[in-house]
């Protein structure tokens, strides 16, 4: 088989513009490949950023990046605290004691999770400062009776900074006896995590006070660890940490702790990617029909080429090559525009919001209606103000490879058909 001749013919078909030319069909197919690839690329690149952003809020506020969880028989006030912060790559390691409790005021009550943390955590934990919004007062745990409560709890108990709340915890010293204990706190701050279900759960108190009102039997003792690169590979650092941790501790990474959450995001992402990949298959139908049309339009030429001594394989080669060109050029254009859109997605969202709001304000002005709150595409209370975009080369390569493969498969059948054309059947018509 002489590839040169196939290339020669295909190259000429690509150049043949005008009414009966193939170029129009080829261009259409290229465009459909490019357009179909854009949503896939954008979904892959942007969803990664969004998942990271949304997950980051959970990590920074709740689960830490890694957690060393103490076994039931360890009492950390006695066993001491391993010096994890000195390990390279670790930016924070704090002890925390968590337990369930009943919180009440004169006005209301509710079940809560007590989070007893070092009094200076606000100063030490940059991630906490970034994601936690202070609604009233301050994140102040400087005195033993200080408490910082979630916004939903504050609303339920109808308390503000300066008000008192009571907290009912239990301590148990043996398997049989469970001792209730009431402690009084003064609300120093009201905070919001951005997630309602967390805001109705969390009360922060100083660690030392927590150690006194909750025992190891009724609470969970952890070392919360934050590291420099939570979204990088975690296995090496986890190995090192496991080596340092004393007996009885178990280490969990954030994606183990937030497994369900993370998996639900990932599953959504896979589903989206799957749907977008289907769009590429629609483009394949386009390639297929374009090549079939070319094959029909060029039947006579193909017949003559065969009678001039071109083999079936060489004729098929022409169509495979056309499919490849469509695949390559379309994929290149699609990946390039998809990337361009992904990288500037924040600006695009902002621009769309500006347009929508501008149009709405203009209409309201015409109708003399009062102004209203800005329309936001993504509610920043739940999503992110700014979607972090990191270009994922592996996903890009996968998408490009997939679209190329699909283009080739789409060219396969018309190419076979072209190769099988029998000259006589066509030439007899004249």
């Amino acid at each position: 088989m002489r590839i040169k001749v196939s290339l020669l013919i295909a190259g000429r078909y690509l150049k043949s513009a005008g009414a009966g030319g193939c170029l129009r069909r080829i261009r259409g197919a290229i465009l459909s490949v490019a357009l179909s690839l854009i949503p896939l690329i954008v979904v892959m690149e942007v969803s990664d950023g969004m998942i990271q952003g949304i997950t980051a809020r959970y990590l920074e506020l709740g689960t830490y990046h890694l957690q060393a969880v103490a076994g039931r028989d360890i009492e950390m006030t006695e066993s001491g605290f391993p010096r994890l912060e000195e390990l390279p790559g670790v930016s924070l390691a704090v002890r925390e004691r968590q337990g369930v409790a009943l919180a009440y005021s004169r006005e209301g009550r509710g079940g809560v999770t007590i989070r007893a943390v070092p009094h200076d955590i606000w100063e030490k934990d940059a991630g906490l400062r970034t994601y936690m919004e202070i609604r009233a007062g301050a994140f102040d745990l400087s005195t033993a009776d200080s408490a910082v409560v979630g916004a939903e709890i504050a609303a339920r108990l109808r308390v503000q900074p300066g008000d008192r709340i009571k907290v009912l915890t239990t301590r148990s010293f043996s398997a049989e006896s469970l001792m209730p204990r009431v402690s009084t706190f003064i609300v120093r701050g009201v905070v919001s995590t951005g997630y309602q279900e967390l805001d109705k759960l969390w009360i922060y108190i100083p660690l030392e006070r927590g150690d006194r009102i909750m025992s190891r039997q009724t609470s969970r003792q952890i070392i919360g660890i934050k590291i420099d690169e939570p979204f990088g590979p975690l296995s090496a650092l986890s190995w090192e940490l496991r080596g340092i941790l004393p007996q009885g501790f178990r280490l969990f990474t954030w994606n183990e702790l937030e497994y369900a959450q993370y998996m639900s995001f990932q599953t959504t992402r896979y589903l989206l990617v799957f749907i977008m990949a289907l769009i590429i298959c629609v483009a394949a139908v386009n390639i297929f029909s374009s090549l079939v049309m070319i094959q029909i339009e060029k039947r006579e030429e193909i017949a003559i080429l065969k009678s001039l001594g071109m083999s079936g394989a060489e004729i098929s080669g022409v169509f495979i090559f056309l499919g490849l060109i469509v695949g390559c050029v379309g994929t290149f254009l699609g990946v390039a525009s998809g990337l361009a859109i992904s990288v500037s997605i924040n600006q695009i969202i902002a621009a769309v919001e500006t347009c929508v709001n501008g149009a709405r304000d203009f209409l309201r002005g015409l109708l003399f209606l009062p102004g209203a709150e800005r329309v936001r595409i993504f509610n920043p209370d739940f999503y992110l103000e700014h979607i972090p975009i990191t270009v994922n080369l592996r996903d890009l390569a996968l998408a490009a490879g997939f679209s190329l493969l699909v283009a080739l498969l789409a060219a396969w059948i018309p190419s076979r058909g072209a190769g099988k054309i029998r000259p006589l059947e066509v030439l007899r018509r004249h």
Binding site: S307, L308, G309
Partner: protein, 226 residues
């Protein structure tokens, strides 16, 4: 006596449609020597094209054998037919069948390129043949800007570029007016003679028959030497 390029033995062709059996050619035997021009005449529908298609390997005989060069044409498989057409045949049809995306020169070069000649080799041969048919000044033109006679002259050049053992021409002037017909015929004969090629020319124009070395007439499916 020179060697036979083409030998047909007892070749027949029948088409069986749903109801009847249609006999187009029966028991045709003849041979053609190298460098000879054979003219086959016959009325329209007498089976001239069918006969050429059998020789060209575009169709298969119902019975009989066809030998051309080293090939037994009726027994060739698809891939072998490709090689056969590439190495042995040059075809001219009633319709020019030039490719519209290629210039006259490129059209003539194409069979040589298909046969594996380099671009410069093919170009050299094609330019010489285009000069032979008197269209050197038109070689960069696309078929759409050539006249019917010019297209057919280019088609003649294309049939010769692969240095075929055997040229098959099926009413090459059938679509042309009187004047152009003469010109194309003259060129075809002179170019074939000049290159010492073997030609089988099919036509319903019995005047032409006189100019060949041998003349056959197809009638009622039988080939008669005239």
């Amino acid at each position: 006596m020179s060697e036979a390029v083409l030998i047909l033995k007892e070749v027949g062709k029948t088409y069986t449609s749903s109801s009847e059996k249609l006999t187009i050619l029966k028991n045709i035997s003849f041979s053609v020597e190298a460098g000879k021009i054979v003219v086959i005449t016959g009325e329209s529908g007498s089976g001239k094209s069918t006969l050429l298609n059998l020789i060209g390997g575009l169709d298969t005989p119902s019975y009989g054998t066809i030998e051309a060069g080293r090939y037994q044409v009726d027994a060739l498989r698809e891939e072998e037919l490709t090689i056969y057409r590439r190495n042995v045949l040059g075809l001219v049809f009633q319709f020019h069948y030039l490719l519209r995306e290629f210039t006259a020169l490129e059209n003539v070069m194409l069979p040589a390129r298909i046969a594996g000649n380099s671009r410069s080799e093919a170009r050299e041969k094609a330019e010489a043949l285009i000069a032979d048919v008197g269209l050197s000044d038109r070689r960069e033109h696309y078929p759409s800007s050539l006249s019917g006679g010019e297209r057919q002259r280019i088609a003649v050049a294309r049939a010769l570029v692969g240095e075929p053992l055997l040229i098959l021409a099926d009413e090459p002037t059938g679509n042309l007016d009187e004047g152009n017909s003469r010109m194309v015929e003259d060129l075809l004969f002179s170019v074939v003679r000049k290159h010492g090629k073997t030609l089988i020319l099919v036509t319903h124009d019995s005047q032409l028959a006189q100019r060949g070395d041998q003349h056959y007439n197809l009638h009622n499916g039988e080939l008669l030497c005239v």
